[in-house]
């Protein structure tokens, strides 16, 4: 089914808090059956024959922040990169199973990865502004997608949304490399929302930042949650507990392959409301990880 950006921007109103809600005041209402943006079904990712992620099945809900946590090498980032087909760019990568986005499998033959990525944006681990002015960083996406009307307004709006406007409004046309790491990362978030995406993927967005810059990004994520669906990979369990509505815990398993060899690959252990994962995890391995016994 063809799907135009105009439709993408028309979103149903956020579902009213109902059913089971998070007891933590910080989290706004989380509906158990909030609308599903993604449905992953038996997703496995292999790099040149080595299976990095195996058999992940989980939904991702609209207007929520979903955190992927787990020890290093468990495949969190790999799984995240399946959601906007960034894995396509890695030679030898192969995805099996279905990643359904509003019902359409992103890995179907007719799906154009460019069309996928303009709806599903991404913020990377290390801030990666373009070697251009602050203005041009924001304007690049709208320009290549043909959204050229009111570009100045769009740039200002995005910088305001990313809580960066006041800091940069005097120097919009100076290099983005003059900004601090935290500012650069907020610029990258502003750049991502400039193309009006449906979903924003964040791959450890704060791992290169100091605690103050991290706190600002976390505040920002909570504000953006009302308009966007956010999936974040994080090493920092406190971060997941602070910002996310749901948490998926992944770990590395060694299990015999079909051909009898032991192979390490990442698996989804447990996926639930963040409060449940952190207060009352259903799996022993989750409990060990969040209580700091391994990882």
């Amino acid at each position: 089914m063809p799907w135009t950006p105009a439709e993408a921007s028309v979103r149903p109103p956020a579902p009213a808090p109902e059913g089971r809600t998070s007891p933590t005041a910080a989290h706004h209402g989380v509906s158990v059956d909030a609308q599903r943006v993604f449905e992953l079904e038996n997703v496995s990712v292999a790099y040149g024959g080595n299976i990095a992620v195996r058999d992940v099945t989980m939904p991702i809900h609209r207007n929520e922040i979903t955190a992927l946590i787990g020890p290093s090498g468990c495949g969190k980032s790999t799984l995240l990169r399946c959601l906007n087909r960034m894995n396509d760019l890695i030679p030898g990568a192969r995805v099996d199973g279905a990643v359904r986005y509003h019902g359409i499998n992103l890995y179907d033959k007719g799906v154009d990865p460019v069309e996928v990525r303009r709806r599903i944006g991404m913020v990377f681990q290390k801030p990666n502004p373009f070697p251009k002015s602050i203005y041009e960083n924001i304007a690049f996406g709208p320009k290549v997608l043909g959204m050229k009307d009111n570009l100045d307004d769009r740039v200002e709006t995005c910088l305001r949304r990313a809580a960066l406007w006041e800091e940069v409004k005097q120097k919009l046309h100076s290099s983005a490399y003059g900004l601090s790491g935290g500012q650069q990362q907020r610029l990258c978030i502003a750049r991502a929302i400039a193309v009006n995406p449906d979903v924003i993927l964040m791959d450890e967005p704060c791992s290169a930042l100091d605690p103050i810059a991290t706190a600002r990004i976390e505040d920002l994520m909570r504000e953006l949650e009302d308009e966007y669906t956010i999936v974040i990979v994080t090493h920092n369990m406190q971060q997941a507990a602070r910002v996310s509505d749901r948490t998926a815990f992944m770990t590395t398993d060694v299990e015999p392959d079909e051909d009898g060899k032991d192979k390490r690959s990442g698996r989804l252990v447990e996926y639930d409301l963040t409060d449940k994962i952190f207060k009352n995890p259903g799996d022993r391995r989750t409990e060990d990880y969040i209580s700091g016994r391994f990882g």
Binding site: N84, M86, L89, P91, V114, E115, R117, R118, R119, G121, M122, F124, K126, N128, P129, F130, P131, F140, G141, V144, L145, Y177, C188, R191, A192, A194, V195
Partner: protein
């Protein structure tokens, strides 16, 4: 002063920390050897330049630039060679730059990783090492006779463009490769097509490096004698190639120098030749300085 350590024990400590005499001497000898290696190479060049300047500086005047070649040494000039060289420079740049950058972009950004690509890559690297006179023979065979461009400016420009094309490709690829993956990923993650990312992010970011490599390659083309001599440059010419006479005969600065030094009279062999060499060196120096300025000015910190 009551600050602890007595003076004598401080002296002992300083002695213990001093460089042992033998090692100090060896290090000095080694440094001198390295320095003299550097000095020798610069010195030889310095002597050559000084010699050329002494022979030729007196011969350079306004008329030397505005006169065509003459059989009389005191009236000869480099006008035809200079205009020929500048025409070649512009034409070669117009041919080699777009072609070289496009080839580099394909190999670096779009080519599938397969056997054909690897064969192409290996061949381009090898072509950069082929002696220039071979390109001249190729130019003579293909452009003069096969395409029937004759012994013309166009033939010379094609020949030199082919000569520097592998160098431009290799330099452009290196410049493109230096652009971090993260820049491309950032563009692609916004829904830009690979072509848009290449065109608006990767190439502009790599442009200083690409231009530097291209200018250095062009300065090599300007200094080349053998290939255009084989491919049909004329030694003696009394008209300009500006504005463009594509199918006219042509000469170039190094060709005129070659002509001057092969004549018997000292006024040609020494004075006029040295003067023309000074002009050629000045042109090359300007080009290479432009490349250095470009590189420093736009040096990127990622």
């Amino acid at each position: 002063m009551g600050l602890g350590t007595p003076a004598s024990s401080v002296e002992t400590a300083v002695q213990a920390l001093a460089t042992p005499k033998r090692r100090g001497a060896r290090e000095r000898v080694f440094a001198v050897v390295l320095l003299s290696a550097t000095v020798v190479s610069v010195l030889v060049l310095g002597v050559l330049i000084a010699d050329v300047l002494m022979d030729g500086l007196g011969r350079i005047n306004g008329e030397f630039f505005t006169s065509y070649a003459s059989r009389r040494a005191e009236r000869t000039g480099i006008r035809a060679g200079l205009t020929g060289s500048l025409s070649l420079l512009v034409m070669v740049a117009a041919m080699a730059f777009p072609l070289g950058v496009a080839a580099a972009l394909y190999l670096e950004e779009f080519a599938p990783d397969n056997r054909l690509t690897r064969v192409l890559e290996a061949n381009i690297a090898n072509l950069a090492g082929v002696p220039s006179v071979v390109y001249g023979l190729l130019g003579a065979a293909v452009f003069v006779y096969l395409f029937e461009f004759g012994r013309s400016l166009l033939t010379g420009a094609f020949t030199l463009a082919l000569l520097i094309l592998p160098v431009v490709i290799v330099a452009s690829r290196e410049a493109l490769r230096a652009v971090p993956r993260a820049i491309r990923d950032g563009g692609l993650a916004l829904g830009a097509t690979p072509l848009q990312v290449a065109w608006r992010q990767t190439v502009p970011s790599a442009l200083p490096g690409i231009l530097t490599g291209t200018i250095l390659a062009l300065s090599r083309a300007v200094g080349e004698t053998a290939p255009i001599l084989v491919a049909g440059a004329v030694l003696f010419r009394r008209s300009d190639n500006v504005p463009w006479g594509f199918f006219d005969a042509f000469t170039a600065l190094p060709i005129q120098i070659y002509d001057f030094v092969s004549r018997p009279q000292e006024a040609f062999r020494v004075e006029a030749a040295a003067a023309a060499i000074i002009v050629l060196l000045a042109v090359l120096l300007v080009m290479n300085s432009a490349a250095i300025v470009l590189r420093n000015r736009y040096a990127r910190r990622w």
